[in-house]
């Protein structure tokens, strides 16, 4: 879809921008009913596109075409309950809607002023039905300074962004602030890079500004590749102009006129939305030559990454941008001095760039009031795994893991027990229940042997085998290591072999020590952080769940009953009525029906441990251990 209402005219000064903002706002009636539909990736997967079309059609049919607006937006965050719809201005919140619900929503809530009770969210703790979006516990405990606008704007409409004050910060930066003042403001805010390392943003900017070279680059790292993480994707999809505005302000502060957005090609919606945003910003004179009449020039190109995880590493990303193999190089000379094409280059994560307009607009003091001593502001996490409310959340730094998992995440589904949470992507660590009081920030997570990373958070319950989890992440990293340096390529491979052996009952006394030795070689010897941090999942699971490793190695037993080679299925005779469901489900005819009301018989020699009988039995008559 092409932008609908592009002005077709450059904005030549801050006052023209202000006039445009006022004219857009004046044309909009804040009390006009608006159907806001989440069309982020999660809701799309649940059928949101169909819902958007059906809404438009139904509204037309019921004769509300000019009385009700329909807005398709980026991700609202509560993906577990998608597709989501919010009826503005009251912000009535309906969840898990389908095409079939739409006529009722339109006639009940738009034609009349009633609530469709059955589509409301019910608080699982109290059973209470919640009418308004702001009252949903999932949202109530968040501070959505970065994500909040996702629910207000159509990301393909620059006017929507301008209507909420978008690009006014750019005008302020270009006309009222010197580059040094901007860097100082970022310094005072305490902003640290959101890509994972947590390096103070102002220091990078300052070094790049002072680095020698006429041509400098700013780069947006949108090569998000952690399994289960989609926060950068959702920002680019839902509010691409905020990222662009941050980049332009940063470029002005650094003295750069050329920028790149390196985004995974597997994120087609993000690629499309940022592309549309760039086109619209150019058309309005907010990008390109003589931005807003200030004399400052800046252009941005999009580069689509091929999906290699290692290209999220800054030097590998730059090599890939140069058209070379995406492998890292040593950073003894920093990329702010010699980066892309050996020129000074400043790379920041999507969330970092999107934070910049907020900081410059509302001030460092406002920003630094949020967070902890060492880590200011908010962080977006993708809260996934065995947690009731999966989705994207944004909380002030310093929020405890318990608050995130229980108050916002709604706890563990199915009455199961919490076991661990893995933060920071595949190279992060697994944090056990004893440490759930940890306030989340860069330093605390590192102390716990894990890391912030780019904001992945995977919750695991008691049915998770921690050895198997470590093996899973190592296998991922083995696939994704570029293979350049010996410790990473050979070390991860060997760790993976040992872990696989342990999960198959081939573990030996001394394996834990070999794993620890290898972890040291990786940490001390690897070329980039993929390698230096790769052992984190192993080290933290050994530290906190050593008994599970020992059960696998010494007793050839998987306490969580996950590792196929170490478990056995059996029939609990007193519970089995001989219904035969498992007999039909078994792919190897290992189960035989004796007679009606007689327990079935499972032949262990034929059993391939697929678990089909266990899954199909509603009576709990199949035991797994």
């Amino acid at each position: 879809m092409m932008p609908e209402k592009v002005l077709g005219k450059r904005i030549n000064s801050p006052s023209e921008l202000e006039a445009l903002e006022q004219s857009i706002v004046a044309k909009r009636d804040p009390d006009k009913p608006c159907v806001v539909l989440c069309a982020g990736t999660g809701c799309r997967a649940a059928g949101a596109e169909e819902v958007v079309d059906a809404f438009r059609e139904e509204i037309k049919q019921q004769g509300l075409g000019d009385k009700v607006e329909v807005k398709s937006t980026g991700c609202h965050g509560f993906c577990e309950r998608g597709p989501l719809v919010v009826l503005r201005p009251k912000k009535i919140f309906y969840q898990q809607i389908t095409k079939e619900d739409i006529p009722e929503i339109v006639s009940e809530s738009l034609v009349n002023d009633n609530i469709v009770e059955r589509l409301l969210y019910a608080d699982p703790a109290t059973g209470e039905k919640i009418v308004y979006e702001d009252d949903v516990p999932f949202y109530k405990k968040q501070t959505r300074i970065l994500l909040g606008a996702n629910g207000e704007i159509d990301p393909t409409e620059i006017d929507d962004y301008i209507a909420i004050g978008g690009y006014s910060t750019l005008a302020k930066a270009l006309f009222q602030m010197s580059p040094e003042e901007i860097i100082e403001e970022v310094k005072q805010s305490g902003l640290r890079g959101r890509g994972g390392a947590g390096f103070p943003t102002y220091r990078k900017w300052e070094s790049c500004r002072h680095a020698r070279g006429a041509i400098k680059y700013v780069i947006c790292n949108a090569d998000e590749g952690d399994p289960g993480a989609y926060q950068d994707r959702s920002l680019l999809e839902g509010n691409p102009h905020s990222v662009l505005e941050g980049m332009i302000i940063g470029a002005y502060a650094i003295g750069s006129h050329e920028g790149y957005i390196y985004v995974r090609n597997e994120y087609p919606l993000a690629v499309r939305h940022i592309g549309i945003a760039i086109e619209q910003a150019i058309e309005y004179g907010l990008l390109g030559e003589n931005i807003l009449g200030s004399g400052f020039d800046f252009g941005v190109s999009i580069n689509r990454g091929g999906g290699a995880f290692v290209c999220g590493e800054s030097t590998a990303l730059m090599a890939s941008l140069e058209g070379k193999i995406g492998e890292p190089r040593a950073k003894y000379i920093h990329t702010v001095e010699k980066g892309l094409w050996d020129r000074p280059s400043n790379l920041n994560n999507v969330k970092t760039w999107a934070s910049v307009p907020l900081i410059i607009n509302k001030g460092a003091k406002w920003y630094s009031q949020m967070g902890t001593e060492g880590t200011k502001g908010t962080m977006i996490f993708s809260l996934v795994g065995k947690v009731n409310n999966t989705g994207l959340i944004e909380v002030p730094m310093g929020t405890t893991l318990r608050e995130i998992i229980y108050d916002i995440g709604g706890g563990i589904p199915g009455g199961k027990k919490f076991k661990a949470v893995q933060t920071g992507g595949p190279s992060g660590g697994c944090i056990p229940e004893e440490l759930l009081h940890l306030p989340v920030d860069f330093d605390e997570l590192t102390k716990a042997g894990s890391m912030m990373g780019s904001g992945g958070m995977i919750v695991m319950d008691e049915d998770t085998c921690m050895v198997d989890i470590a093996r899973y992440f190592l296998t991922f990293l083995e696939e994704e290591s570029c293979g350049k340096c010996v410790p990473c390529r050979e070390g991860i491979k060997r760790m993976g072999q040992i872990l696989t052996g342990i999960t198959q009952g081939k573990g030996k006394e001394g394996d834990i020590e070999i794993l620890e030795d290898l972890a040291g070689v990786l940490r001390d010897g690897s070329l980039c952080t993929l390698g230096t941090t790769a052992a984190n999942p192993i080290l933290t699971t050994i530290r906190h769940f050593r008994d599970e490793y020992e059960a696998h190695i010494k007793e050839k037993r998987c306490p969580a009953a996950v590792c196929q080679e170490l478990i056995q299925y059996s029939i609990i005779e007193e519970k089995c009525p001989g219904c035969g469901l498992c007999v039909k489900a078994c792919p190897t005819q290992a189960i035989t029906l004796v007679a009606k009301k007689q327990p079935v018989i499972l032949d262990q020699s034929k059993c391939i441990k697929c678990g089909a009988c266990y899954d199909v039995c509603k009576l709990g008559a199949v035991a797994k251990r």
């Binding site: 003894y332 010996v486 410790p487 390529r489 060997r494 070689v521 001390d524 010897g525 070329l527």
Partner: protein
């Protein structure tokens, strides 16, 4: 000019020089595998890792890439350096147990055997052949393909290259004899 100390010896070095170059110049031995003075350093084997104290910050770095700087203190044979090199050689020995070069380096590091299952590789993916073909022969006939454990040295699509000038520099520089010429034809490492 900058002044730094390597293993307690104070030396002068020109700016831009690496620790390895400075050490070699004064006869201090640092083991290497993916380094050759005629081509650009790469930092893949990590054997040349040394311990540096940089204004109080102590860390392990690859000496083939780390530029000298004023006041830098370098230890080429500290305990943590030796431990890392041993770990690296144990991994390499398991990967290429038949290579004489690897065997002799392992002996040098005090690694008699490896705890890992032996493989039968010849190529250690040091990239010397790739760089010599690019920088000296200026042909770039071969490059790395694939990623991680699937990484290989190959010609494009594994098709014999007509551009190859048969200078044999790749075979000459290869430390393990993995890439070679047979009857005048390039044989890629398997």
């Amino acid at each position: 000019m900058v002044t730094l100390t390597i293993d307690g010896r104070e030396i002068g070095a020109r700016e831009g020089e690496t620790i390895l170059e400075a050490a070699n110049r004064i006869g201090i031995y640092i083991p290497t595998l993916c380094y050759h003075e005629a081509i650009s350093p790469y930092g893949a084997c990590r054997l040349c890792t040394v311990e540096v104290n940089q204004r109080g910050r102590v860390r392990l770095v690859a000496s083939c890439l780390f530029p000298v700087e004023q006041g830098l203190e370098v230890k080429t044979d500290s305990e943590s350096v030796r431990k890392l090199r041993k770990g690296l050689m144990e991994l390499l020995l398991a990967s290429c147990p038949d290579s004489e070069r690897i065997q002799s380096l392992a002996r040098e590091m005090g690694v008699a055997e490896t705890r890992f299952a032996l493989e039968e590789n010849k190529c250690i993916l040091c990239g010397l052949c790739v760089r010599v073909c690019q920088e000296i022969a200026e042909k770039s006939i071969i490059s790395f393909v694939g990623r991680g454990t699937k990484r290989k040295v190959a010609t494009p699509f594994f098709i014999p290259s007509e551009e190859c000038i048969k200078c044999q520099a790749c075979a000459y520089i290869c430390p393990t004899g993995a890439i070679r010429f047979e009857e005048g034809k390039l044989v890629l490492p398997t």
